[in-house]
């Protein structure tokens, strides 16, 4: 296999859960340690990775300079045969860049995880410690990015995410990609066929028993319990809740005002209908 395997999603759509599952599969279905083993699916937006690829301190670079070198970082690690990677970038060329952070010629295959944007909004509110109004506005902002250092060192470099709709379309509509679409909701309600599909798509060597054990070892309750006991390094400083908070479907019905729910449905109507989140 040549090229990178990407696990891509808008933030808080189930990416970390998928990484935990894959880490468990790699361990024959044993429970992974969420603070060490999730690095099986690494992130090329992590500063250490970027710095190693460019032999420069990315924290001394401007956002524009970082945008221009992301594709180089991807090519560097593709050449080294890097395993699966977690990605929040849109499959779009960021402002100031010349090509997407993951150029199509270095991508071998992509698992794209999608989740009802109304639940994404609630989850992002807790994760980023922002107001729900801010989050809903960001989800409609075509220029939205994460990892932009402000007052302190961000352990991730800037990633161009764009709006929720553009993010989804950028990954789903690129006909050059070998891509598997996974719904977060199916991971929760129909885990066996959903995760089995992922394992087969990635060409991993795991039988049904390993897959079943990995699913139960990385159930929401298991991950939340581990976080409660030993913390989770990937939780953001500004977060106001555990990383593994609820993981439910339709939690937005209690948490989103009718006005904000309607705003999301208006902003993202076309893509929500396409994915079956709206009639």
């Amino acid at each position: 296999m040549s090229g990178l395997t990407l696990i891509a999603s808008y933030p808080k759509s189930g990416n970390t859960w998928m990484r935990a599952f894959l880490a468990s599969v790699n361990r024959g279905g044993e429970a992974p340690d969420i603070n060490t083993d999730l690095s099986d699916v690494a992130q090329l937006s992590a500063r250490g990775k970027v710095d190693a690829a460019i032999e420069e301190n990315s924290s001394d670079l401007t956002v524009e300079e970082v945008a221009r070198i992301r594709a180089h970082v991807s090519r560097h690690f593709a050449a080294l045969g890097e395993a699966a990677l977690k990605v929040h970038d849109a499959n779009l060329t960021a402002p100031h860049a010349e090509e997407p952070a993951y150029p199509v010629d270095v991508i071998d295959r992509v698992v794209y995880i999608v989740r009802d944007p109304r639940d994404v909004a609630v989850s992002n509110t807790h994760h980023f410690g922002k107001t729900i109004e801010d989050v809903v506005a960001r989800m409609a902002d075509p220029n939205y990015g994460i990892g932009q250092a402000q007052q302190r060192l961000n352990t991730q470099v800037h990633q161009y995410v764009s709006s929720w709709s553009r993010h989804v379309e950028s990954w789903l509509d690129d006909a050059r990609l070998n891509r598997l679409l996974v719904h977060y909701e199916d991971m929760l309600t129909d885990p066996i066929p959903t995760f089995t599909g992922v394992v087969r798509f990635l060409g991993l060597d795991a039988d049904d028993g390993v897959i079943a054990r990995a699913i139960s070892a990385t159930s929401f309750d298991q991950l939340a319990e581990q976080e409660a006991k030993s913390g989770f390094r990937e939780r953001l400083t500004q977060s106001d809740a555990p990383f593994f908070r609820q993981g439910r479907i339709g939690g937005w019905r209690e948490r989103l005002s009718p006005e904000l729910a309607a705003r999301i449905e208006t902003d993202h109507r076309v893509v929500m209908q396409r994915l079956g989140y709206l009639d």
């Binding site: 032999e55 420069e56 300079e65």
Partner: protein
């Protein structure tokens, strides 16, 4: 014009370098000269390349930061700079005293270690680890506790002798983000910005800087704990683990290897591993209790 001390070398620089301590050693010819001049855009016979640096087979290096400056290390004793007039002075010095200093260390036979370094009772103590682990914050906090600062991002080690490896101090300047400055009670007002618009500042702490070779007494590999967990300091015992840990934090390793330094780097790592205690310091997620674990560090080094 600066006539200064940098990693044991006498440096004469046409670019003012307020970071450096003045040269107070014997009146020798400069070891390294930084001068303004024309720089090429492309080197011949390039054997290593990133978006910023080219290394030629003959060991010369060219670092280009288009908005800032080009730095042409023509040999072990000269760097030619061509500065973008739009650039701030701080950012021109930033890459010269960053990546280019790393190239000079490789070229001149020092081991550049990605670490900050302070002197505790005359013994050099290095703090290494990935970006965000807290190297500079740890160093500035120890400086605040009265320990002279020896280096920030690059600790230059001479591990070629038969005894304890020696640190050649770089300069007493730290790059610190606003939150780190706030945590140690330093006002960022009046400090130079690392890059224009960036909330990362250059803090100079010239008090007690000792431009003198200092034995390396300990290395702490920093790691940030998950929120809510206490600090944990463990000494690494297995040589394989120690060497791989040190090797992961060589500064600009590919440039060094392109210069043919791989055997020397391996030898330096082996010597450090066999003579210097290496600890893993998992530090708490937030910095509120930093003095607690700094006292432990002082205790360990003082033994």
């Amino acid at each position: 014009m600066t006539d200064g001390y940098l990693c044991g070398w006498r440096v004469r620089s046409e670019l003012d370098l307020p970071e450096l301590a003045p040269w107070t050693g014997p009146d020798i010819a400069p070891d390294v000269v930084f001068r303004f001049g024309e720089t090429p855009t492309e080197l011949d016979d390039v054997i290593e390349r990133t978006p910023f640096v080219q290394v030629s087979r003959d060991g010369t290096c060219l670092l280009i930061h288009p908005g800032v400056a080009s730095y042409h290390m023509t040999g072990p004793d000269e760097v030619v700079l061509s500065v973008n007039p739009e650039a701030s002075e701080a950012e021109v010095r930033l890459f010269l005293l960053g990546s280019v200093l790393g190239y000079l260390c490789h070229r001149r036979g020092l081991f550049p270690f990605h670490a900050s370094c302070v002197s505790i009772n005359g013994k050099a103590v290095a703090f290494s680890g990935p970006s965000g682990a807290g190297k500079s914050t740890t160093a500035v906090s120890l400086a605040k506790r009265g320990h002279p600062l020896l280096a920030d991002d690059i600790t230059a080690i001479d591990a070629t002798g038969s005894g304890t490896p020696i640190i050649y101090p770089a300069f007493p300047r730290l790059k610190l983000w606003q939150d780190s400055l706030s945590s140690v009670g330093i006002d960022s007002e009046g400090l130079e910005r690392n890059r224009p618009g960036m909330s990362k500042f250059h803090y100079r702490h010239h008090e007690e800087f000792a431009a003198a070779a200092t034995p390396l007494a300990a290395i702490f590999m920093l790691q940030k704990a998950a929120p809510g967990l206490d600090e944990q300091i463990t000494r690494l015992e297995r040589p394989v683990e120690i060497i791989s840990t040190i090797s992961s934090e060589v500064f600009r390793p590919r440039v060094g290897q392109a210069m043919g330094r791989r055997p020397a780097l391996l030898a330096a790592q082996a010597r450090i591993a066999s003579t210097v205690p290496v600890y893993r310091l998992v530090r708490p997620f937030d910095l509120k209790a930093i003095d607690t674990w700094l006292q432990q560090v002082e205790g360990i080094v003082g033994q």
